[in-house]
């Protein structure tokens, strides 16, 4: 017994080190997999609050860019509104109209793009209706998917994250693939597993596919920068240049698909019956 106590006293620093290292490694390994329960994230009142007050200072530096983005978006929407051929007949009765998507606006208060797994922090949380697995976009294109939400803040898995896999397709032909990021340039992502029969051309537009219940179909992602066939010549691997400048994200829209539970229940039932 005495020897055991002596052992603990003699090696107490090493044991403490091993214990703390073990905890940190558990957290690290968890952070490398998608949506694992994480205790350490920036959607809590302390880090959210500090980021929020820092953003109060730094948001003035980006005001010009953000205003330009808003004007551009307004311009586009107005053009569409006034150029509709018969705007009266298209009036929608909102009382009976089946609303499929709900939009919430949020301000980005923290944005990373230098790591291999990048996250954003938003100033909007469960109080504003945010929860896990909602899509996040800007007026130009997609940004990511909500990971954790606390009462007032939420973290978003950026598309610049090695765990992010988003269903995307060619705008003109509906051939789809998976959007991934392999590190490096924050404006270039990879679209992999596109069928070799797809008519891929430089400069073509890539949009979100309709297969996921997170993003609506047809949200812009980027344009094809370069592409190559994989060695087996079955699939294309495409480099996509993003529409969004991921290094400067201001206000974002969070999309909730209101049919999501219904779609998932239905798919689950079908899968169970087989």
């Amino acid at each position: 017994m005495q020897q055991i106590v002596n052992f603990f006293i003699k090696y107490r620093n090493f044991l403490l080190y091993a214990f703390l290292l073990f905890i940190s490694l558990v957290f690290t390994i968890q952070s490398h997999s998608y949506h694992r329960s994480k205790f350490v994230n920036s959607a809590n009142f302390l880090s959210g609050g500090i980021y929020s007050s820092l953003d109060n200072i730094t948001e003035y530096f980006d005001l010009k860019v953000h205003n330009a983005q808003l004007v551009e978006e307004n311009n586009r929407l107005r053009t569409r509104l006034l150029n509709t051929r018969d705007s009266i007949s298209q009036k929608i009765d909102t009382a009976t109209f089946h609303k499929r998507f709900r939009f919430t606006t949020a301000k980005t208060i923290n944005n990373n793009y230098t790591f291999k797994d990048n996250f954003l922090t938003l100033r909007a949380g469960t109080k504003d209706g945010l929860k896990q697995d909602l899509g996040v976009i800007t007026s130009k294109g997609i940004v990511g998917i909500v990971d954790r939400a606390s009462a007032n803040y939420a973290t978003v898995i950026s598309i610049l994250n090695s765990n992010s896999q988003i269903n995307a397709k060619l705008k003109k032909s509906n051939h789809f693939g998976i959007l991934v990021w392999r590190g490096g340039d924050p404006n270039i992502v990879d679209l992999i597993d596109v069928q070799s029969k797809a008519p891929v051309q430089k400069g073509d537009t890539i949009v979100t596919g309709g297969k996921s219940t997170i993003f609506p179909e047809g949200i812009g992602i980027g344009t094809i920068k370069s592409f190559e066939l994989d060695p087996s010549e079955n699939f294309y691997s495409i480099k996509v240049e993003l529409f969004n400048d991921m290094t400067n994200i201001g206000y974002v829209y969070v999309i909730e698909n209101l049919d999501r539970t219904e779609i998932q229940t239905l798919e689950q039932q079908t899968a169970d019956e087989q």
Partner: protein
């Protein structure tokens, strides 16, 4: 004694705030960020309280992790260099360390530089390895360690010099 405790608490809070407010947003050449918050471990009083240093390093790392959403990478790297620190000190300062007579701030410039460099580079190497979590990215890890490490060492030396002038 009390003065030293207050000084270290202030240094802890100051370094964490400066790290998240300024140094995490530098993004020099796209991906190079310095991590001068390790200065807390470098400057921690050299004495017998190794367990306290380990616990505080963990706390320091996990606070940075919380802001960076990086799991426990910073915590693991910080705890490791805090654990290795006594051996590094001994090999650099030799006899002076054994008599508890070492003050990093007052040491010769060469020794101080060597000590800072070894701690910073071991921290960064482990940090970037845990970040990419993949041996096949070894070139990327080494490149990032080299550039970020050089940046951090430079900042650490500047900060030590700046803050030691006042105390004289």
């Amino acid at each position: 004694m009390n003065n030293s405790v207050t000084q270290n608490i202030l240094r802890f809070v100051f370094l964490v705030l400066v790290q998240i407010a300024i140094f995490n947003n530098i993004n020099f050449l796209g991906y190079i960020n310095p991590y001068p918050y390790v200065l807390f471990i470098i400057l921690f009083p050299i004495g017998d309280n190794k367990a306290l240093l380990l616990a505080l390093s963990f706390l320091l790392g996990i606070s940075i992790d919380m802001f960076c959403n990086s799991g426990g990478m910073h915590a693991a790297s910080c705890v490791t260099i805090a654990y290795l620190r006594p051996w590094i000190l001994q090999s650099i300062f030799g006899l002076a360390y054994e008599y508890n007579a070492v003050k990093v701030v007052k040491a010769a410039f060469g020794q101080r530089l060597l000590y800072t460099t070894i701690l910073v580079f071991s921290h960064h190497l482990l940090l970037f390895f845990l970040e990419s979590f993949n041996f096949s990215d070894i070139i990327y890890i080494l490149k990032k360690t080299l550039f970020s490490g050089a940046f951090t060492v430079l900042l650490c030396i500047i900060l030590i010099t700046l803050f030691s002038v006042k105390r004289r």
